[in-house]
Symmetry: none
DNA sequence: CGCGGTCGTGACCGTTCGGTGACACAAGGC
DNA sequence: GCCTTGTGTCACCGAACGGTCACGACCGCG
């Protein structure tokens, strides 16, 4: 029982999304892609089984309520075929019993809609991490601790210490915005991008909301919030995050 | 900057079965293998400890009644050695006291024989799904006795002495919640995590229940329960346990 | 059968967070 | 310069969430 040299399964990075609501599917796919996953999507159970007959993925995101064959059945069918690909169920009802049914059908995890995007991504990552440990891929490049301009941010704990030594408790949204920005240092990130990545699949507050969170981040982390050096405005487009100030 | 992804062997997939009844052992092993787990099996406690001295697994399925060293002792010994591999106890008697004894010995879950294979597999999957989470727990010291802010908690006896010198008899749930929190000091633990680890994958008390136990723990151990320094709330997510208050 | 302890839930209330509108100001086009 | 458009900033409100309490179900025990 010696450890075999792990050969990276090529499907570790691939996700199949089975979801009939096009809006939800689009949001989910978008965010998975942004996290670095190769994503394919179909809208019902039969398509899913068909597609999986030819392709391999590391994770199947499977809606329970589907037109035609329901999600549980799809999963059970897969298992009977000897397909052990991890399955993450999505369900509309919050009924906890569904969770057990999902697990019994051979699923690996379960998420009730509406879900927090962050939680969804966390679970996806947790499941795929079984393969991910080989690759420090962009998928897991989620930096646990970020340093910039004397500030230190721990995304795992939503905590930070600003340049002046003050402890900062970040709220969820603040943390997520900062994280998205920090994942693209020096690049321009539009407000639309931020809305998609942070708010996710079906909620779209106005762009003013984004400005407000930028404001809050500046207050927390900029030495002179009125003359930001890290959270820069790109006029007419969006924002750009700089770890160290050179424009 | 980020935690280097460790080149860890895929232990998440490995299970050790310690069971003297060959019939039961065979059934369990066969089913675990069918589920894709790499499975090894031994028939008594001494073999188990020996084997574990050289190998690492993601889960130990441990019969309580074993020839020679009993299961509780095996588990306790492991914990004393700093081995925090999750342990799922199997016991012949349905005696609920065994559950407490299992917890006292440092076990993680408990199943009474005869059990449904389906349920057994579900528990195994539930535990291994969180493997990396358990793993980070074992990175922290396997403390049978926890000290924080003048409090002292003995998990084996469910007994504690609070900062003011008062003896505290913890209830089972209180102890388990505290244990789960304490295994991840400084990290956010979601209510879902707590529910799953303390109540199990198929029991669903409301989140208010969790809050209530936090409340009780605060009353027991916080100098000022209204301004907690150890049992901190993370808004919208869960709780965070701090052994010593540094902001 | 009553008793005490434990656990889970519902209800109430205060707090926090997120999102918006208003207004002032800055940037850029002509 | 002037006007338009976009952004900084603030104060505010509703909704969601957590803290807390009290009650009832349940269980083992005498």
């Amino acid at each position: 029982m010696s450890d075999p040299v792990p050969q990276l399964p090529p499907q570790a990075n691939r996700v199949l999304v089975v979801e009939d609501d096009p809006h939800l599917a689009a949001g989910v796919v978008e965010n998975l892609r942004a996290e670095g996953y190769e994503t394919h999507s179909v809208t019902d159970g039969r398509q899913a089984l068909e597609w999986l007959g030819a392709e391999h993925v590391g994770l199947i995101v499977l809606d329970v309520m589907l037109p035609g064959v329901d999600g549980f059945t799809v999963c059970r069918t897969l298992r009977e075929q000897g397909n052990n690909t991890p399955v993450l169920f999505l369900t509309a009802r919050g009924d906890p019993a569904d969770r057990v049914r999902g697990l019994e059908a051979g699923g690996d995890d379960y998420l009730a809609k509406p879900f927090h995007l962050q939680e969804f991504l966390l679970r996806v990552r947790a499941i795929l991490r079984r393969w991910d440990w080989y690759r420090s891929a962009s998928a897991t490049a989620a930096t646990a601790v970020l340093h910039f301009g004397g500030n230190e941010v721990d995304f795992r704990a939503f905590r930070a210490r600003s340049w002046n030594g003050l402890a900062q408790e970040l709220t969820e949204k603040e943390a997520m915005i900062l994280k998205v920005l920090a994942e693209h240092p020096g690049e321009i990130v539009s407000r639309e991008d931020l809305l998609e990545r942070v708010w996710g699949y079906d909620v779209f507050p106005s762009t003013r909301t984004v400005d407000n969170f930028i404001l809050r981040l500046r207050k927390r982390f900029e030495r002179d919030p009125a003359n930001p050096k890290h959270f820069l405005t790109v006029w007419g487009v969006g924002y750009r995050f700089m770890t160290e100030g050179e424009s």
